[in-house]
């Protein structure tokens, strides 16, 4: 357990020293959302109507891009090999790195989201649910993404390949996440959607580290 936390602490320290990993993911998120008013036009009510979907799609893409290098550095410099030879199980390694990654990139997204909701004219009723769905949803994205990052380790053109593998798996999260907000905005209860999201998280939590660990073992052979 303490070694698990040590690994999390090391990854956090690396991310902070390395500078702006966190900032860049959140900036991509913001930029991606900001693109839509230019594309769709500045009409406030249209923007408000699609705000939930747009913010969620942008969160998906931002999480995807920042996950690309989750294991890359450790793989390239040989640390991953050594981690796999330590007595810490590989599943714990995957979980620790995913947790650190989520703390560094997922949490800033959650913080920035209400601001973007303001920019897109979303009704204030939606803000609470938006933050709630993102808080449950971004960990799922990180977990699923970690499988993809492990699978594409060492492949050419990691980035685009990763997106092909992972985006389809992200779709349920997107549906329930955006659905909950729409429900809240239309005066319905977002509870069922939130419960389903919680279910996804409960499912991904054991499954993703297991699959990620298996993929990493392959990559290291």
């Amino acid at each position: 357990m303490t070694r698990f936390l040590r690994l999390v602490a090391r990854d956090l320290r690396l991310a902070l020293r390395q500078g702006s990993d966190a900032t860049i993911a959140v900036m991509f998120f913001v930029l991606c959302v900001v693109l839509f008013p230019f594309g769709v036009g500045p009409e406030p009510n249209i923007l408000a109507r699609i705000a939930a979907g747009v913010i969620w799609v942008a969160a998906l893409l931002a999480s995807l891009l920042s996950l690309e290098r989750l294991f890359q550095n450790d793989y390239e410099d040989g640390s991953l090999e050594l981690l796999s030879l330590s007595t810490l199980p590989m599943e714990a390694v995957v979980l620790a790195k995913t947790l650190a990654h989520w703390l560094v990139t997922g949490v800033p997204l959650i913080v920035a989201a209400p601001l973007l909701a303001v920019l897109l004219n979303m009704d204030a009723e939606g803000f609470g649910v938006l933050v709630l769905t993102l808080s449950v949803g971004t960990p799922i994205l990180s977990l699923i993404g970690s499988i993809g990052a492990a699978l594409t380790l060492g492949a050419r053109r990691g980035g685009v390949l990763l997106s092909l593998l992972i985006l389809p798996l992200y779709i349920p999260v997107l549906i329930f996440g955006a659905g909950a907000i729409d429900a809240a905005l239309n005066g319905l209860t977002p509870r069922p959607h939130l419960l389903l999201l919680g279910g996804l998280l409960a499912g991904a939590l054991p499954l993703a580290p297991w699959a990620g660990a298996a993929a990493l073992r392959q990559a290291l052979e």
Binding site: G19, S20, T23, I24, M27, L31, V34, P37, F38, P42, P44, V118, L119
Partner: protein, 239 residues
């Protein structure tokens, strides 16, 4: 810093300027705040919200002024390879980003009562937002390389490319019809603004400028020290 670009002269110069610019900043900002908050009248149309102007407009000017300065420094850095030019751009970027941020936030705070919305996607507002992203992108790019000089050189190219945004911001109000009002101070044919408002505006603008000089000199000093640290570490590590 290597022996050929003598930072000692710069250090002497900056120590000579710093107390003056710092003093001027304090005096100008106090006078400017007095004018803008107490001695200037409320606008007949906009009421007391016009006081936001004394922050908003100087900050907007500074955001452009700083960027242009950085781009000039970038050109010098690329052509003459003067290390101080690179460092100047790097040191000025956070200050410029800060002014741009102030311009955006105060603009929004002004827009809420005046236009009834925090934000509209018109050309002026949008181009300022792009400027803000350019500042952030520059800062991220400069720090993204293991070799700091490589980062600064890449940053210089980016600054020169981004300069196309500056005329767009300046003339967006003239080229497109926007909610935002057109220039009334810096325009052909002289300012059309009332003297009671012009004075605080100019005092604040000068205060912001001296603030910029002060902070940039301090940041340059820190950058030079950091370069020295890095060189020492490198030689130490290489034995």
């Amino acid at each position: 810093m290597h022996r050929f670009a003598n930072p000692a002269r710069f250090q002497r110069l900056s120590s000579a300027i710093l107390p003056w610019s710092a003093g001027a900043t304090v005096v100008l900002l106090i006078v400017g705040l007095y004018f803008s908050l107490f001695s200037s009248p409320p606008d007949y149309q906009q009421g007391e919200t016009v006081r936001i102007m004394y922050i908003h407009v100087p900050a907007a000017w500074m955001s452009l002024f700083v960027y242009v300065n950085m781009a000039i420094a970038a050109a010098c850095g690329l052509v003459w390879k003067h290390p101080l030019a690179d460092l100047f751009a790097k040191a000025a970027a956070p200050v410029g980003a800060g002014f741009t941020f102030i311009c955006l936030v105060t603009g929004s705070l002004w827009g809420a009562p005046m236009w009834g919305t925090w934000w509209v996607w018109d050309a002026r507002l949008t181009s300022v937002l792009i400027l803000f992203f350019l500042y952030l992108g520059y800062m991220a790019l400069v720090n993204a390389f293991d070799d700091p000089q490589r980062g600064m050189r890449a940053g210089n190219v980016l600054l020169l490319v981004g300069i196309v945004n500056v005329p767009i911001i300046k003339f967006s109000v003239d080229w497109w019809n926007t909610l935002h009002q057109p220039s009334s101070v810096i325009r052909m044919g002289g300012p059309t603004i009332d003297g009671t408002m012009l004075t605080p505006l100019l005092v604040m603008a000068f205060g912001f400028t001296t603030y910029f000089i002060t902070v940039v000199l301090l940041r340059l000093k820190a950058e030079i020290v950091q370069r020295k640290i890095q060189t020492m570490r490198l030689t130490e590590a290489q034995g």
